[in-house]
Amino acid sequence: MRWIPVAVLFSILTSCSGDNSWSGLGAKCANPRSGVDPITDKGYPDAKGTLDDEKKFLKAFIDDTYLWYSEVPAADPSQYATATDYFNVLKTTQKTASGSDKDRFHFWQDTAEWEQLSQTGVQAGYGVTWALLATRPPRKAVAAYNEPGSPAANQNVTRGVEVITVDGEDVVNGTNVDKLNAGLFPAGINETHIFQVLDVGLTTPRNVTMTSANVTGTPVQNVHTIDTATGKVGYMLFNDHLATAEKGVVNAVTALKAAGIADLVVDIRYNGGGYLDIASELAYMIAGAQNTNGKIFEQTIFNDKHPSNNPVNGSLISPTPFHTSTVGLSLSRGLALPTLNLAKAYVLTGSGTCSASESLLNGLAGANVQVIQVGSTTCGKPYGFYPEDNCGTTYFSIQFKGVNAKGFGDYSDGFVPGATTTGSFAGCKVADDFSHALGDVNEARLAAALAYRQSATCPTPTSSALLSGGLSGEGRVFKSIFQTNRILRR
């Protein structure tokens, strides 16, 4: 994997030449920026152009780099009032086997917003990740997990705690959704809001006051072992492929190896991906040298115009290997990784398990590690892109697909637990259980994984009725303030 630092990535992407016809069409802007880009250290490349120039760039960019360029329907650019309106239609309209849109990831964002930096894992908020089990009335919002030492943790706003009111507004049926969203998802630090919450198993609500702060996320939490009659089972909650997760997963595997675990449960139900290298590192640590020897973790495939070279930066296309040592995200580069050498891995998943997290499952399968998947269907994103700035808007269009060592990468409908289709994994469909802490052996998904380990059978559907207070389901999980749409709705 060739690395390009964050700060120079944009300058490379906007200055590469070669035979990319689109690169020569960029930076001709209806409203050119001036000054120095705070991220690239260079002046904005923008020159005075027209809206038509921006549309021509987009058409050429899509024609050359979009994974499904041949499926983009003809569109008259003059019919679109803005460049982004035009970009919105420059994507495939085909469907997946399940009937979903084939491309659910076509996206654009204001460049200044996209370029915002932060200390890794630091976000303004209370340090709680909310799961919205119903976003329209009757709404239901519960805590999925919190960050150690955060305002939420200090107020015991732990997994399963249900929010009843926000600043006096009823969450379930209230009409002032702006008030609800503003309170649940503070835009910055030092915002104080009052919540009425209901703890798991109780009937009397309590009031808590939380003030938002810059909270540092702990991407790997709750690492421990579970004693069973057939040996110790290791558990790790892995929530985000942040840079600091490199240190987290290495420390976790080191501890679990020292504890002599016989099996491992990796809980990535809320892990939407991030650094692909961390997925590779963890896969190697699980599988070990023998299972991964001579194999790649993930091969990147661009469209058929570019079988050899990356169309964005011109480099030779090379796979992400199974990293056998640290890549230097939050640990020093080149430290040998510990290995568990497991032939089987238990993975807890949800709809928020996405992208690099799905690569973890697929990469393990490529190394012939048997994956047992418990939970719900993953998001289905075997794709990636290089964000491209033009005239102050950053465009995200799918440019490559990742496949494992066996050449498999067709999971655009997600990995379905227990499915029998090609590339699927054995396992069980189990609803998310907000009535128990993550890592608790009684939590439905972990309990199912432990039971499957003993008997290779799944819990019967009636088991879900045991989940107390209706605190089960899938919901939508929101981790940060960087949203483009309102979250709770009328």
Partner: protein
């Protein structure tokens, strides 16, 4: 010549360090240094930044789409890293990619002990 030798000795004695007893002033100094490294862009930092270790990692904020899914789910570009060193009694923030050095005012730091 003496000045060059002195500078070389100072560089040679630079050791990884962490901040102790952070104050509002030391946090402001650290924030200003990081902001200067990124041409004035404000970068949210934790209050306890660089108090437990000598490396400060900066990455793009994790933007998510309307479904709550991370937009850049396969991140291929590495983060920016800074190293805090103690050099000649001063606490200095070093930007690894550029090598730029930012002395921190109002900041106390100690050498990171082996194994920390």
């Amino acid at each position: 010549m003496i000045a060059i030798l002195s500078a070389a000795l100072v560089m040679a004695s630079a050791v990884p360090a962490r901040i102790v007893n952070p104050t509002p002033e030391s946090r402001a100094s650290l924030a200003a240094a990081v902001q200067a490294a990124f041409n004035g862009a404000k970068v949210p930092l934790a209050d306890d930044a660089l108090t437990a270790e000598s490396t400060l990692v900066i990455e793009r904020a994790a933007h998510r789409d309307a479904r709550g899914l991370r937009i850049q789910g396969r991140e291929l570009s590495p983060p920016e890293r800074f190293q805090l060193v103690k050099s000649g009694g001063a606490c200095v923030l070093v930007h690894e990619r550029t090598g730029r050095r930012f002395p921190l005012d109002h900041t106390d730091c100690v050498e990171v002990a082996a194994g920390e």
